[in-house]
Point group: C2
Chain length 470, copies 2
Amino acid sequence: MKKFILLVFINCSLFIGNCSFAQQSDSIIIKHIYDEALKSKISYKNLEYLCKKIGGRLTGSPQAAAAVAYTYQVMNNMGLDSVWLQDVTVPVWVRGPKEHANITSSILGSKELSICAIGSSIGTGYDGIYAKVIEVKSDKELDSLAHIKVQGSKSNVQNLIEGRIVFFNRAADQTEMSTFSAYGGSVGHRYGGASQAAKFGAIGVIVRSATVGDENNPHTGNMHYNENYNKIPAVCVSTAHADLLDDWISTDPNLILFIKTECKTLKDTKSFNVIGQIKGSEHHDEYITVGGHLDSWDLGEGAQDDGTGAIQSIEVLRLYKALNLKPSHTIRAVMFIDEEIAQSGGRAYFANALKFKEKHIAAIESDRGGFTPQGFSIDATKEVSDKIISWSKLFLPYGLFNFSEKGGGTDIDFLKKLNVPLLGLVPDSQRYFECHHSSNDVFETVNRRELQLGSASMASFIYLIDKYGL
Amino acid sequence: MKKFILLVFINCSLFIGNCSFAQQSDSIIIKHIYDEALKSKISYKNLEYLCKKIGGRLTGSPQAAAAVAYTYQVMNNMGLDSVWLQDVTVPVWVRGPKEHANITSSILGSKELSICAIGSSIGTGYDGIYAKVIEVKSDKELDSLAHIKVQGSKSNVQNLIEGRIVFFNRAADQTEMSTFSAYGGSVGHRYGGASQAAKFGAIGVIVRSATVGDENNPHTGNMHYNENYNKIPAVCVSTAHADLLDDWISTDPNLILFIKTECKTLKDTKSFNVIGQIKGSEHHDEYITVGGHLDSWDLGEGAQDDGTGAIQSIEVLRLYKALNLKPSHTIRAVMFIDEEIAQSGGRAYFANALKFKEKHIAAIESDRGGFTPQGFSIDATKEVSDKIISWSKLFLPYGLFNFSEKGGGTDIDFLKKLNVPLLGLVPDSQRYFECHHSSNDVFETVNRRELQLGSASMASFIYLIDKYGL
């Protein structure tokens, strides 16, 4: 018994010794990665170009094509082992001329509203639509307003939705710590509200912007029509004007809302994922993917969503080159196209991986903005999660403390079908929804160092995944 | 032996049981505090008023007096148990008309530089000063340039500093994770450079702004003259123009720098700390202080430095009132005056505490900006530190993970002489030095939710300190 204990003790001590030595050398490499990221301004300048010279990059737009060409060119000049375009067929939705909405009340006068069409919505056409507005805050309220019992009648019901424009005014829950949770709890009507309202005969919907911010700018995003109901036009209204509309309706329930949008969906077109890679020295046919999406909404410059993720992914490869790190597995940076509308870029990347039987070790996505990184979300088996979390202590000096969230990212989630462990960069979320899908999403909101810390965090995790496997 | 073990086991289990129950109820109160902070927009509106209606609040200025009156009024309308002004005699330094500097080179032409006088500096006078520039990056380099050995002579030395304007161009270390460390490593010449250069006969100094940002705006701050040497004018230059000046000097070492500043120090004047308090139900003569400073530099609006800290401290008291929390000890919010120049507000608060033999349980300061809080720095005995850190797990859901830094805050540090445990709110530091002491320090850089989370974090820690003591 004594001997056994002694042996165990020696083994433990050796193990701890090795572990500690390995971690020491890992912590040195990680420090080099962070230092290089913080010293070089290249990624910030690349992002500036993407935002200021190209701007908003709606899927299928000329700007999206310019972004494909630009990021291809950037990676092609980095001395990578290969850079290529991967074919993707993408939907094309165009906003058309500036949207317009106003309310007119016989009591209160008239007022212009700050609105925008929701992505994938049909337009109202040149003449616009106008109708009385009915405000609802929940699905239940919508349903009950469509089935008002007429007094004195047992069977007759009145449908207050019929012929109206439905105003979905569900505010984001300010008390959620993660603004993504607050967003998640409020975005449903933007996505599905039009068909929910059309089911009861509404002629259009106006939806409170899904954001925790208090702003004058509307926030767009994508929507989906249920084919069982009429397609009706859908717009988002700024949170400030949602409050105003709510206020006016309480004074004058008969006010008239006029909406004019000329957006439409065109034919699908050809676009690309842009991929660059550094070939692995030992396992060149095994891949670690890091990516962000290149497309964005058109109202801003697609800076935080997701210029930062795309540019950070390129920066991961640059860090490998600058520090002369030779990965054992092949490391790929992927600029996914069309995350915002149909996720056709993510699907195409997955389809190729399946077709060519690629072995993917892990995939990381950055699509929550370029803010100070706080950790990674994980979508993997418990064993793999535990391994990733065991490395987290190396990152406390760099402010990474949060490894508790689940999930990878919209573009890489398809790889889950191949049982690929997925990670998502989790930055500080407080400011994200000030920008998200709105005209506020501009380069000036990105802090150089915060962007750099995100790149360094991803490169460092990839370094560990490449070295120790998952 | 068995019995003993059993007893220990039972005690432990009871202890753990109690602990867990207490923590559960604490976590509920803490959740209420964060919820209330995130839902109310009052503190953000108060900060907007302070920044936009009053603006930069240089110690001894009319704006500082307005800020005293405003925060007194705000607290006076909150139904606190008492609100009063504490006399403080403060220095008065005035910037005078807009400063001006340019370089003229027979090779390169001339160029305007973006500069500002350093606080407490003397001015050049209306006519300005001009001289050749000598660039140094370290104290050692300054010293060696003052003692250049003349070739062919054993004893003769040449002093290249004499009659020149010294350009201190030590850049902040970008690889520091905490921008406060980067700042600390680069700010020495702003504070003491003038006397260091005057010692060797320089007629003025121009100092690279102490910031990790890359900007066109100069960052001011305070300085100190060593009475043994001539007082010479001192200015800061933007980092962008420091790089430009460095570049021009390398081409033309004989270029001439002209500087004109008309700043000066006037007679001391009367000002105030503004104090509001909620009386403790059991220990009304024992105090927990929470504070920020009301004065600021004049170039911006004093938003992040330290409007946020002042307004957050008021918000702590509002949270107590809104949630009907009855503290056992007296809780005080203090708007300290004159942190930036002579710390006379902090001194006065300490002097009063000493004079009236006040018993202070703890003091917390927020003076690192209103960014997402990451934890608290601590300046206390190991026993007290351990107690504070034992609460930290309650705050991981709110993103607080960093309790490793030392220190309290400039204004409360005087209380250390009374052995008061000190805490400092530690927010994310990445963006702070974009604003710090410059025209960038404006309300628009403050995110409402980040500000609110800081207030909630301080209120929650005060709740625990009040309940369990330190």
